[in-house]
């Protein structure tokens, strides 16, 4: 665990930069995290983040396929929004824990 200053607020983050407390999240924090990775968040990005936060709060297991079926964007679009690691990056910016793949 470490502390980090994001959008003028000190928050706890994991070694990989995920928020420890989902409640610390704000749109500004998301924007700043994304900026560090060179991604400028658009409305479409925020739609994905809102969807992830809602599903995670409901206890759903999140997969790329699930987000791809959400109606917000398809899987290809998701890769374009979050290049490299769509679910890992979007979860980070959404302030939810790193997706734990089932074993």
């Amino acid at each position: 665990m470490a502390e980090k200053n994001l959008a003028g607020k000190t928050v706890e983050v994991t070694e990989e930069g995920y928020l420890v407390n989902t409640g610390d999240w704000s749109k500004e924090i998301a924007a700043e995290m994304a900026k560090e990775d060179g991604i400028e968040l658009t409305d479409k990005h925020y739609e994905v983040l809102d969807y992830l936060r809602k599903e995670q709060a409901a206890g759903a297991t999140l997969t790329i396929r699930k987000v791809g079926k959400s109606g917000i964007t398809d899987i290809k679009g998701l890769y374009q929004l979050f290049p490299g690691g769509p679910l890992k990056l979007s979860s980070k910016y959404a302030g939810i824990p790193k997706p734990a793949s089932c074993v």
Partner: protein
């Protein structure tokens, strides 16, 4: 007369039928089990078929051999569950009313979810080993193959038996070494996960073993489609991997009947309380094995441990008591590593696979996260245990809950 209906007579459903018939009064409880197929497959054996270690006859027996007297077996497809009306409708219209329902319809591979998979190379140079047909086709192919690029690829999570594709590449390494052509076979393991396995300590052990055997790993590769003309895997972010022969774990989904019944998530798995194994939506529906959406491995060992918990909770539900047995996600998997050796992992929702001994602390005989000959014998012996003890719902000398005894904590 009160009624319990079990849907699916695979590993999970068959175990439950035996356990329930042994405990519930025949004058009071009617038990019915439904499955469309008459053959029971020993699925852990599929892995050995491509390498000629097992053949079809080594992994099949009639389902009827394992259904106890006093349980009504119906061979039929299932149209749908009408949960609000407490009934199941079979194909052809027969209706089964129930007081309690156990859904054990499992998971199946759906190659059509990946464009280009079931195309002109299917069962010619592209195979799966999660069906007896795929495994046999691959056995025939390997007999005459002289080498090239062998790619083992996982399309989507979750999938049945998470260690099977790893075992496949380990056994392929051994098979081609023994054939004397290992230097002409390039083996690559392609996964959408960030590493060879999901949990860090096991990933480290398995990654070292993969490197030692000269098997390449391509992580974070999420397959969009298969290009049959150029024999390439193409990912959503437009990376490519060439293959000469492709072995694949197709997308896994729950039964379509679950979708027709409106009881599933987007992969047709049934939302289930991960501790009580009761369906989230209906108090008199329980879900056992791969059909559930619980976050643990889709594997027979999990179904076996979960069966004990489900049984206790169903007894409580029948008597109107609160559900007190809590499943911990316990899984126990042998990993064949080739050349007569194997590894073993034992874990649950909260504890990742750790090194140590199993089942007796300090004694074993099996070594956890160790590559030993005795672990391999454990897997070999397991087929007998499966047919004679496990399916019949008899006691095994292993507790349903995972124990830390015999495990070493690793920092």
């Amino acid at each position: 007369m009160k009624r319990i209906v079990i849907l699916g007579a695979g590993t999970a459903g068959t175990m439950m039928a035996n356990k329930l018939r042994n405990s519930l009064d025949r004058e009071e409880w009617d038990i019915t089990i439904v499955d469309q197929f008459k053959t029971h497959y020993y699925q852990p054996g599929f892995l050995f078929i491509p390498f000629g270690i097992y053949n079809k006859q080594d992994v099949i027996k009639p389902k009827s051999d394992f259904i106890p007297a006093g349980v009504k077996m119906i061979y039929s497809k299932i149209d749908k569950i009408e949960a609000e009306a407490n009934k199941v409708v079979l194909d052809g219209g027969q209706v089964l009313n129930y007081d309690f329902l156990i859904v054990a319809t499992g998971t199946k591979t759906v190659p059509s979810e990946t464009p280009g998979l079931q195309d002109k190379l299917w069962y010619k140079e592209i195979f799966d080993f999660y069906t007896v047909e795929g495994a046999m086709a691959l056995q025939n192919f390997f007999k005459g193959w002289e080498g090239g690029k062998l790619v083992m690829a996982i399309t989507e999570l979750p999938y049945k038996c998470p260690v099977a594709p790893l075992e496949f590449v380990f056994l392929a390494d051994a098979y081609f070494t023994e054939k004397g052509i290992r230097d002409r076979v390039d083996i690559t393991y392609v996964t959408p996960m960030p590493g060879a396995f999901t949990k860090p300590i096991a990933t480290k052990m398995l990654s070292e073993l993969l490197a030692e055997k000269n098997i390449k790993v391509v992580p974070d590769f999420y397959i969009e489609r298969v290009d049959n003309d150029n024999k390439k895997l193409i990912s959503y972010d437009e990376n490519e991997i060439d293959f000469d022969v492709l072995t694949v774990v197709p997308v896994n989904m729950g039964d379509e009947m679950i979708e027709r019944s409106g009881l599933g998530d987007d992969m047709n798995f049934v939302p289930t309380n991960k501790h009580t194994l009761q369906s989230v939506a209906h108090e008199n529906i329980f879900v056992l094995g791969d059909a559930a959406n619980i976050p643990t491995s889709k594997a027979g060992s999990v179904a076996h441990f979960a069966a004990e918990i489900l049984f206790e909770n169903l007894m409580s539900a029948i008597e109107g008591r609160p559900l007190q047995a809590m499943f911990d996600g316990h899984a126990n998997c042998y990993i064949e590593t080739g050349h007569g050796k194997g590894a073993l992992i034992d874990f649950n929702y909260d504890t990742e696979p750790l090194p140590g001994t199993f089942p007796l602390p300090g004694i074993g005989p099996f070594g956890l996260l160790k590559n030993t000959k005795i672990n391999h014998y454990g897997k070999v012996m397991f087929r007998w245990i499966y047919w004679h003890i496990l399916l019949k719902g008899k006691e095994m000398p292993i507790e349903p809950h995972m124990t830390m005894a015999g495990k070493k904590k690793v920092n």
